[in-house]
C-alpha cells in the first residue's frame, strides 16, 4: 500500500544536529497539502510542511496570514477540507479535543484561557486530568486509588512549578496575577499533560523585554529537559530567529518560505511580504 511505503519513507528520513548540539529526530507530524476554508474565505491554501521530533518549529507571518488557523489544524480543532495530517506515521482522522490531548498534544492560547477563580496549583492540576483514572465516587471520597493518584500527580505538578519558578504564587488565584505570570501558568498547565508536542500561540505577546527573556529561557529549557517538540507562533522576530530550528512563513494563507532562520531571513519573498515591507 502506498500508505505503508510513505510511512517507511518518513521514518527513514534521518534527523539533523543543530548548531548547539541537540539531535533532531525523524518526522513527528506532517501536513500535506492542507486547505482550510470558512465559507468562501480561504484561510489556508495548499500548505505542506513537517515537524520533527525534538524540534522548535516556528510559524510566522503578518496579521491574518492564517497562523492561528494552522495551529488549530495541528491541534485537531479545525478539520481541513482538503489535505492530510500525519501524526507519528499514521494518517489522523478528525478528532474530539480530548482525543487530541490523549495523543500527547497540549497548547497555550493567544488570549489566556485559565480558570480565573482557581489557584495556580489547581489550574495546573487540571492539566493532569488525562492521567487520572480513579472513578468519580473514589475521587469524591478521596479514598484508595484516588488519593494515591492525587499525591503522584501533585508531585509531578510541583516539579513543573519548581521548573517554571512559580512557587511563590502556588496558592494565588489566577485572577490576581499579572499578564506575564498568567502566560507562565498556562505553560505550566500545558506541561502538566506531559505533551509530546507543545503548541504555543504567541507566547510572548504583550510582554516586556525581561518577561520575554524569561519565557524564551523556559521554552528552551522545556525543549532541552523534557525533549518536548514545540511548535510556536510568534510576532517578535528576534525571539523567533533566536529560538527556533526551522521557520515556516505564511502570507495570505500561502506558504512563502520554509527553512532555518538564516535562510528564511534572506528569502526575498519573505522580506517583501513580511520583514521588509511591513514597517519602514
Amino acid at each position: 500500500m502506498t500508505g505503508d511505503m510513505q510511512m517507511n519513507a518518513m521514518t527513514d528520513q534521518g534527523g539533523y544536529v543543530t548548531e548547539d548540539g541537540r539531535k533532531i529526530g525523524g518526522v513527528m507530524m506532517e501536513m500535506k497539502n492542507i486547505t482550510l476554508r470558512f465559507g468562501g474565505v480561504v484561510a489556508i491554501k495548499d500548505i505542506s510542511f513537517d515537524i520533527r521530533e525534538g524540534e522548535i518549529r516556528a510559524i510566522i507571518g503578518p496579521n491574518g496570514a492564517g497562523k492561528s488557523s494552522m495551529l488549530n489544524v495541528i491541534s485537531g480543532f479545525y478539520n481541513p477540507q482538503e489535505g492530510e495530517v500525519w501524526f507519528h506515521g499514521k494518517r489522523r482522522a478528525p478528532m474530539k479535543p480530548y482525543q487530541v490531548a490523549q495523543q500527547g498534544i497540549a497548547r497555550t492560547f493567544q488570549n489566556i484561557a485559565l480558570f480565573e477563580g482557581m489557584t495556580v496549583l489547581d489550574n495546573v492540576m487540571t492539566g493532569r486530568l488525562t492521567q487520572m483514572k480513579a472513578g468519580m465516587a473514589a475521587q469524591a471520597l478521596w479514598w484508595g486509588k484516588a488519593e494515591r493518584e492525587e499525591v503522584e500527580n501533585r508531585e509531578f505538578v510541583e516539579k513543573i512549578i519548581d521548573f517554571l519558578e512559580i512557587q511563590n504564587i502556588r496558592k494565588t488565584p489566577v485572577a490576581r496575577l499579572p499578564y506575564g505570570l498568567k502566560k507562565r501558568v498556562e505553560l505550566a498547565r500545558a506541561l502538566a499533560a506531559e505533551p509530546k508536542l507543545l503548541l504555543l500561540d504567541e507566547p510572548m505577546a504583550g510582554m516586556n523585554v525581561e518577561e520575554k527573556e524569561d519565557m524564551s529561557r523556559f521554552i528552551l529549557d522545556v525543549n532541552d529537559e523534557f525533549g518536548t517538540t514545540i511548535a510556536l507562533i510568534e510576532h517578535d522576530m528576534g525571539v523567533v530567529m533566536d529560538l527556533s530550528d526551522r521557520v515556516v512563513v505564511m502570507d495570505y494563507g500561502k506558504k512563502i518560505g520554509d527553512g532555518p532562520p538564516d535562510e528564511v531571513r534572506n528569502n526575498q519573498d519573505v522580506i517583501d511580504a513580511y520583514l521588509g515591507v511591513a514597517h519602514d
Binding site: G21, I161, E165, Q167, N168, L220, D224, E225
Partner: protein, 657 residues
C-alpha cells in the same frame, strides 16, 4: 532546652561539632528545605553522611589543605554542607554573594585563588564560565541544580550528586584519610573567609579562625540561652558573616535546626510555616512587614480598624513594659491579655513571629516607631552591633534592657573602648586573624594589642553603660562654620518615614546641608492608588508635585527634630530633590548590603549637587543605569529642587539667653 555548652569542650572545629551532634541529636532535624511544596528534612545523622560523602568526593577531586573553595548560591542545605565538607578536607570555604555581577565575582575568585567553585545553578555557573579565563588557579566547578546544564562541556564541570556518589563509592579507601584530615584541623586554622562588601574600594577577605567562630558561637549562645530546640530561617546571604554565625556557628554549637526557604519570593510564607524561635532581620525587613500590615489594615472594615487602633494604642503603652518585666497594673494586664487574644496573637501568627523568643536587628538604625511596634506585640526584638571583623558580636542588648537608640552593652568576652576621636575600638575572642593578602589594611585596622578600629563614631551613655553609635567616623565632618556634620544621623531620621526609602545628605565643608531622596515605591505607590493618582513609572511618581509636597513636609519635620539637638542642629536640610531612579547596587551606588557609597554618588550626580547649591529651581540630567543582565542604558529626567523650612538653631537661642 538547656544550652549544650557545658560538655562541648575540646571540640575545635565545625566538623568535630558535627560528629558530636550526629551522636547526641542523631534523630533530630538539622536541616529543612521546602522543595516541591513540602518541607524535606535531614537529621543530624543524615546530615553527617551527606557532608562526608561530599567531602570524600572532594578528596577524590584532589581538594586539600590550603585550597580555597568558593560557594555561590542562595541558602540551601547542600551549600551549607559544602562549607563544612570543604573544612573537612582541610580547604577554606569562601561564600560569595550570589547577586554579584560577573566582574565582582571575578575579583573575589581571583583574589583568593579559588581552585574549586560550588555553584547553585546555571545562572551562577554561567557567571563563573564568563570570567574563568582570567582565573589561574581555578580547576573544577560543581553545580547543584542540573537544569539546563546538559549541553555544557563537563571536562571541568561536575554534578553535585555525582560527586557525592563518587565519594560514597570510594568511602572504604578514602575514609581513613578524611578522618585523619578532620582530626588535624587546629583551633587556630582558618574556618572561613568572608569578603566584606566594602563601602569604599575593593572587597577585603576577612580570615576567621575556628577559635573566632566557635568562641563567639559559644558566648553568644550562652548570652541568649540558645539550645538544641531552636528553629531558625536561613534567608540572608550566605556570604554575610551573620548568616555564617547563625546558620553554621551557633547552629552547630547548639545543635539547632536550620530551615531554608523555597525561594527568595516565598520567604514570608515559609517564615509563617516554620515559626522560628530565633530570628534575625535587618531593619528594612521589619519596616517592610509593618508597611504591609498598615496598608492591609487600611483596607479592612470599620470594626476591625477600630479594634486594631484601640488595642495597638494599649499595646504601645504597656507592651514593652510587660516584656521588660516592669510593674504594670492588673487592669492593664487584663486588657493586654484580651488584646493578645484578638489582635496581637493572630497578627504575630500572620507575620510568622509567634514563636520568636530572641529576635535581633542590626546593620542600620531602626526607626523607634517600628522597633516599638514589634516590642509592644510582645516580640523580644533586640539590637546588636557587629562587624565581619568581630565575627559579628561587639555589643548586644540583654533581655530587659532594650531601647531603640542604643546598641547595648559589650558582648561576653569583648572589650570596647572609645578613642579620643570618638571612634569605637574593640577586642575579644572573635577578632579576625587578618585581611587575606592585605597586610597594610590589617595593620591599619588591628593594632599589636588586638584592638580593632570599627570606623564608627559613638559614645557610652553615662547612666546605663549602653553604647550609642552616631555615624561612620570618616563621614562625620565639619561644616564651613565648624559645626558638626553627621549625615547618617539625619538620613536615618528621614528613612524612618515609610515614604522615604533612601536619603543621602551632603554638607561636609559647606554652608548648608542638602539631600537626595529616594521614595519607597510600595508606600508611595499605595498612597497614589488610594488618591487616584495615575503614574506609569517610578520616575513619574517620584516627580509628582503632591509627592514632593509630602516629602517636603517630612524633611521639615526632620529639621524640627534635628534642631532640638544642640550639637547637630547645623545638619538641617535647606534644599532637597527626589531622585529619578532608585539607588542600586548594580550601578555601584550602594553596597550589596544596601549601604550608600557616598563618594560614588557624589561623582556620579555632581551636576545635581551643584544645582542644589547654586539656587536653581530645576535641573535636567541624564544618568547611566545598569540592567540586571549587565547591559547599560540611560535615563533622562528634569528634577524639581525644593527649599525646606529650617528651624533656628538651638545654640543661637542658648547664646542669646
Amino acid at each position: 532546652m538547656e544550652p549544650v555548652s557545658k560538655d562541648a569542650g575540646g571540640l575545635t572545629s565545625v566538623p568535630a561539632l558535627l560528629d558530636r551532634n550526629a551522636q547526641r541529636f542523631g534523630t533530630k532535624p538539622a536541616y529543612r528545605e521546602k522543595e516541591f511544596g513540602i518541607w524535606q528534612s535531614w537529621t543530624w545523622a543524615e546530615t553527617r553522611e551527606e557532608i562526608r560523602s561530599l567531602a570524600l568526593g572532594l578528596l577524590n577531586l584532589g581538594a586539600g589543605p590550603g585550597d580555597f573553595i568558593a560557594i555561590i548560591g542562595s541558602n540551601r542545605p547542600h551549600l551549607y554542607w559544602s562549607m563544612v565538607a570543604s573544612q573537612m578536607v582541610g580547604a577554606i570555604p569562601v561564600p560569595v554573594y550570589q547577586d554579584s555581577a560577573a566582574e565582582e565575582m571575578a575579583y573575589v575568585l581571583d583574589h583568593c585563588g579559588a581552585r574549586f567553585v560550588i555553584a547553585e545553578d546555571q545562572e551562577q555557573v554561567d557567571k563563573v564560565i564568563d570570567v574563568q579565563e582570567g582565573l589561574t588557579n581555578f580547576e573544577h566547578m560543581i553545580y547543584l541544580d542540573p537544569r539546563g546544564m546538559r549541553k555544557y562541556d563537563h571536562s571541568r564541570l561536575h554534578d553535585f550528586a555525582h560527586i557525592q556518589e563518587q565519594g560514597h563509592a570510594a568511602r572504604d579507601e578514602l575514609s581513613p584519610e578524611l578522618d585523619r584530615r578532620i582530626a588535624g584541623i587546629g583551633y587556630d586554622d582558618t574556618c572561613v573567609m568572608l569578603y566584606t562588601s566594602g563601602t569604599t574600594g575593593k572587597p577585603k577577605g576577612v580570615v576567621l579562625s575556628n577559635r573566632n567562630i566557635i568562641e563567639t558561637s559559644k558566648n553568644s549562645s550562652e548570652f541568649d540561652h540558645l539550645g538544641p530546640g531552636e528553629e531558625v530561617l536561613a534567608y540572608l546571604p550566605m556570604a554575610w558573616v551573620g548568616d555564617f554565625i547563625f546558620s553554621i556557628g551557633q547552629a552547630y554549637w547548639s545543635g539547632f535546626c536550620v530551615n531554608c526557604p523555597e525561594s527568595a519570593e516565598t520567604m514570608m510564607t515559609d517564615l509563617r510555616e516554620i515559626g522560628p524561635t530565633y530570628y534575625f532581620a535587618p531593619p528594612r525587613v521589619f519596616e517592610g512587614q509593618l508597611t504591609t500590615v498598615m496598608i492591609r489594615m487600611e483596607d479592612a472594615g470599620k470594626l476591625k480598624r477600630w479594634l486594631f487602633k484601640t488595642f495597638m494604642e494599649h499595646a504601645r503603652k504597656v507592651g514593652p513594659m510587660i516584656l521588660d518585666g516592669k510593674p504594670v497594673s492588673a487592669g492593664d494586664r487584663l486588657k493586654y491579655k484580651i488584646g493578645d487574644l484578638c489582635i496581637y496573637g493572630p497578627l504575630k501568627n500572620t507575620l510568622g513571629l509567634s514563636r520568636v523568643r530572641v529576635g535581633y536587628t542590626a546593620g542600620e538604625a531602626i526607626g523607634p516607631e517600628i522597633f516599638d511596634f514589634y516590642r509592644s506585640l510582645g516580640i523580644n526584638l533586640k539590637q546588636l552591633y557587629g562587624q565581619t571583623e568581630a565575627s559579628v558580636f561587639i555589643t548586644q542588648q540583654p533581655d530587659g534592657e532594650v531601647r531603640s537608640d542604643t546598641v547595648g552593652v559589650p558582648s561576653p568576652g569583648v572589650e570596647v573602648k572609645i578613642a579620643e576621636s570618638g571612634e569605637v575600638f574593640y577586642r575579644g575572642p572573635g577578632v579576625f586573624v587578618e585581611y587575606y593578602k592585605n597586610a597594610d589594611s590589617t595593620a591599619s585596622t588591628k593594632d599589636a594589642e588586638g584592638w580593632v578600629a570599627t570606623g564608627d563614631a559613638g559614645f557610652f551613655e553615662p547612666d546605663t553603660g549602653h553604647l550609642r553609635i552616631i555615624d561612620r567616623a570618616k563621614d562625620v565632618g565639619k561644616m564651613a562654620d565648624g559645626r558638626l556634620f553627621a549625615p547618617k544621623y539625619v538620613e536615618n531620621k528621614l528613612k524612618f518615614f515609610p515614604n522615604i526609602l533612601e536619603a543621602v545628605v551632603f554638607g561636609n565643608g559647606r554652608e548648608t546641608c542638602t539631600a537626595f531622596i529616594n521614595i519607597d515605591l510600595n508606600a508611595v505607590g499605595n498612597w497614589a492608588e488610594r488618591n487616584n493618582i495615575a503614574y506609569s513609572s517610578y520616575q513619574e511618581l517620584a516627580g509628582h508635585p503632591q509627592v514632593l509636597d509630602t516629602i517636603q513636609s517630612h524633611v521639615e519635620e526632620v529639621n524640627r527634630s534635628v534642631a532640638e539637638d544642640e550639637m547637630l542642629s547645623g545638619c538641617q536640610i535647606h534644599r532637597f530633590l527626589v531622585l529619578h531612579k532608585e539607588l542600586d547596587a548594580d550601578d555601584g551606588e550602594m553596597t550589596r548590603t544596601r549601604k550608600v557609597r557616598r563618594k560614588i554618588i557624589e561623582e556620579k550626580y555632581h551636576d545635581l549637587i551643584t544645582a542644589l547649591y547654586d539656587g536653581s529651581d530645576r535641573i535636567a540630567t541624564r544618568t547611566e543605569v545598569t540592567y540586571e543582565d549587565g547591559r547599560k542604558g540611560y535615563i533622562s529626567a528634569t528634577l524639581d529642587i525644593r527649599d525646606a523650612k529650617v528651624m533656628p538653631a538651638m545654640t543661637a537661642r542658648v547664646a542669646a539667653e
